[in-house]
C-alpha cells in the first residue's frame, strides 16, 4: 500500500505570536518550529497501516527549505521517503492545487494529513486535494480501517454531538483528528537515518489563480484583568461570584 502523508511545519503551540513590522507575517526570529501536531497523528496512522498491510510511506510538504526539518521529523518517526514541493503559494487554493499535482505522480492508495494546521487554522487543504484529485474524503477522522485488496475503507469522523461513520473507496483522502492514535516518538536510529536521507525537491505547480489575498495581520483585542475575589471561603466566594455575574455583568 502506498501512502502519502501531507505535513506542515508550524510554530510550536506554546509560542506567543507577535505580528511582524510589515503586518503581513508574524515575527519569525527565534520561533520554535515543529511538525504540525495533527500531522503527527497522520504520520502515525500511515506507519501503522504500513505495519499491517506493507508498502511505503511518503511524507510531503509544501514550503521553503527550512520545512525540510518537519520532513525529517516524520522520517525519524519511520516514514520511507520525503518530498518537498518548493513554492510560495498565496492561499489555500494554490496549496491544494500544488500538492494535488505533486501527489498525482505518485498514484498513492491513501493520502493522509492533519485535520488542520495550527498556524493558519484553515482546515481546507485536505478537502481541496481530494477535490482536485476527484477522490472521496473523510475529514476529522478519529478511527480508520482500510482494506487495500478490496480498495475500500471506513472511518469515524468527529461531528457536532458525536461520531459519524463513513464508508468509501480507495484511493481517498483522510484528515486526522486528535484521538486517531497515539503518535510514537522517533527512535535514535530513526533520527540518525532521517539525517542522512535525501529529500526530493519538486517545484510547485501554482497553475490556479488564488482566491484570497492577505491584507494584514492584527493582534487580538487586549483584555485586562478585572475584579478578583481573594481571602474568602470557598462558599462565600462562590455565592459572591454568582451575585456579580448576575447583578453586575448580567451574564447569568
Amino acid at each position: 500500500m502506498q501512502t502519502v502523508v501531507l505535513i506542515k511545519q508550524v510554530p510550536d503551540t506554546a509560542t506567543r505570536i507577535k505580528i511582524g513590522p510589515d503586518g503581513k507575517d508574524i515575527q519569525r526570529d527565534g520561533l520554535t518550529l515543529v511538525l504540525n501536531p495533527y500531522d503527527e497523528y497522520a504520520v502515525e496512522e500511515a506507519l501503522r497501516l504500513r505495519e499491517q498491510h506493507g508498502g511505503t510511506v511518503t511524507v510531503m510538504t509544501l514550503g521553503p527549505a527550512r520545512a525540510d526539518e518537519a520532513l525529517r521529523s516524520a522520517l525519524a518517526m519511520g516514514a520511507d521517503e520525503a518530498v518537498r514541493v518548493d513554492g510560495k503559494p498565496q492561499d489555500a487554493l494554490q496549496v491544494g492545487w500544488a500538492l494535488a499535482q505533486a501527489i498525482r505522480t505518485l498514484s498513492p492508495d491513501l493520502i493522509l494529513c492533519g485535520k488542520q494546521a495550527v498556524d493558519d487554522d484553515q482546515a481546507e487543504v485536505g478537502a481541496l486535494v481530494a477535490e482536485f484529485l476527484d477522490l472521496p474524503q473523510a475529514t476529522v477522522a478519529v478511527a480508520l480501517s482500510v482494506d487495500p485488496a478490496a480498495h475500500s475503507a471506513s472511518a469515524k469522523r468527529e461531528v457536532e454531538g458525536g461520531l459519524q461513520q463513513l464508508a468509501f473507496s480507495l484511493p481517498a483522502v483522510v484528515t486526522a483528528q486528535k484521538g486517531l492514535n497515539e503518535p510514537r516518538y522517533p527512535s535514535l536510529p530513526g533520527i540518525m537515518k532521517a539525517k542522512r536521507k535525501e529529500i526530493a525537491v519538486l517545484s510547485a505547480d501554482l497553475g490556479i489563480e488564488p482566491g484570497l489575498e492577505l491584507v494584514r495581520l492584527t493582534p487580538p483585542e487586549a483584555r485586562k484583568a478585572g475584579t478578583v475575589l481573594k481571602d474568602l471561603s470557598g462558599a462565600d466566594a462562590g455565592a459572591e461570584l454568582v451575585r456579580l455575574l448576575h447583578e453586575d455583568a448580567k451574564a447569568i
Binding site: T13, E124, L128, Q137, Q164, V228, L229
Partner: protein
C-alpha cells in the same frame, strides 16, 4: 445575491440563523439552500428569516450525508441563484463542504470568519489564526467567494413577517457523489450543549485534582445550561474526552461566558478561549496567567467554590 447553506436536523442550527443575519447585514437579496431529508423543515424555518428564496434538495441521493453530494447540491444552488458569496457555518460539515466547493468553483474560501466588511467593491474577511493569537484580514479576489462563519460571532437574523418562497431544486448527481456516504452515527457522551455553539462554557483543569471531581463542573454546567470544556492537561491525562478540549489543539470557542475552573492558562489554552465575551477564572494560584484575561476571578480552590456557585445559581433560578 448571497447564498446561505442551511444546517440542522430537527431544527435549524443557531449558526444558520447567524449566517442569514450576516448575509442580510451585507445588504442585497439573500437566498438559502437546505439539503437532505430534513430540507423542507429547515427551509420552512429559514423562510421566515428575511430571505428572498429558499431552495430545497431532497431525494435518495441525499437521504444520508455525503460530502460530494452536498457539494453537488450547493454548486447547483449557486448556479441557480447566481450567488457570488456563499456562507456556511464553521461546523464539521460546513467546513468540508465549503472546502470542496471552493476547489470546484475555484473560489476563495475564508474559514472561521468572525467579521465581514467591504473595502471599495471587495469583501474583506477577518478570521482568527493561531487559534486566536492573531487575526488575518483577507480580501476576496475571485469572482465567487465562500466563507465559513464562526459560531457566536454574528447576530442571528430577525424574523420577517413575510415568508419567502420555497422551491425544490433539481440536481443531477453522479454515482461518485455517494462514495463516502454516512453509514451511521454514534452520539457523543458529552453534555446536551455543543461546545463551539454554547452561550456559556464551564471548563475544568488540573485544579480539579482528578476525574472524580468533574461532576462539580457538570453540575454547574447543567444548572447554567452550559457546555463542559476541559484543558489539554486533563484530556492528555485521560480524565476527559478530547472532544471537550479547549485550546489550540482542541476547540476554539467564543461563548458569552467562559468559566475556567482550576485552569492556570497555558498559552495554547488561552488562545482557544480569549475571544469569549466574559471570562471568569477560579484558581488557587493568584499568579496564574488566566487571571490576566479574566473579567472576574476567585483566588481559591475550585473544588470548594463550584458547589457554592451551583447552589447560588439554583437559588437564582428558583
Amino acid at each position: 445575491m448571497h447564498l446561505v447553506v442551511l444546517e440542522g436536523d430537527d431544527r435549524l442550527r443557531k449558526i444558520s440563523h447567524e449566517a442569514i443575519g450576516a448575509a442580510r447585514a451585507l445588504g442585497g437579496p439573500v437566498a438559502a439552500v437546505a439539503v437532505g431529508k430534513d430540507a423542507r423543515k429547515l427551509a420552512e424555518e429559514a423562510s421566515h428569516l428575511g430571505v428572498s428564496q429558499v431552495l430545497t434538495v431532497e431525494g435518495p441521493e441525499v437521504s444520508a450525508y455525503a460530502v460530494r453530494a452536498w457539494v453537488r447540491a450547493v454548486e447547483t444552488a449557486v448556479a441557480k441563484s447566481g450567488a457570488t458569496l456563499v456562507l456556511f457555518g464553521a461546523t464539521s460539515q460546513g467546513k468540508e463542504v465549503a472546502a470542496r466547493l471552493a476547489g470546484r468553483l475555484k473560489a476563495g474560501l475564508a474559514a472561521d470568519v468572525t467579521a465581514i466588511s467591504q473595502d471599495g467593491g471587495a469583501l474583506v474577511f477577518r478570521r482568527p489564526i493561531y487559534a486566536g493569537k492573531a487575526f488575518a484580514e483577507v480580501r476576496l479576489i475571485s469572482k465567487v467567494g465562500i466563507a465559513t462563519l464562526r459560531p457566536n460571532a454574528f447576530s442571528p437574523a430577525a424574523k420577517d413577517a413575510e415568508a419567502a418562497q420555497i422551491e425544490p431544486l433539481a440536481v443531477s448527481f453522479e454515482a461518485k457523489d455517494l462514495d463516502g456516504k454516512a453509514t451511521g452515527f454514534e452520539a457523543g457522551s458529552g453534555g446536551q450543549v455543543e461546545l463551539t455553539e454554547a452561550e456559556i462554557i464551564v471548563s475544568g483543569g488540573r485544579g480539579l485534582k482528578g476525574p472524580e471531581n468533574f461532576h462539580l463542573i457538570e453540575e454547574l454546567a447543567k444548572e447554567l445550561g452550559a457546555a463542559v470544556g476541559a484543558s489539554r492537561a486533563v484530556v492528555d491525562a485521560g480524565w476527559r474526552p478530547h472532544t471537550e478540549q479547549v485550546g489550540q489543539t482542541g476547540k476554539t470557542v467564543s461563548p458569552a461566558l467562559y468559566i475556567a475552573c482550576g485552569i492556570s492558562g497555558a498559552v495554547q489554552h488561552m488562545a482557544g478561549m480569549s475571544s469569549s465575551k466574559l471570562i471568569v477564572a477560579i484558581n488557587k494560584d493568584p499568579e496564574a496567567p488566566i487571571f490576566q484575561v479574566a473579567d472576574y476571578g476567585v483566588v481559591g480552590d475550585a473544588i470548594e467554590v463550584l458547589p457554592a456557585m451551583t447552589e447560588a445559581v439554583r437559588q437564582l433560578r428558583a
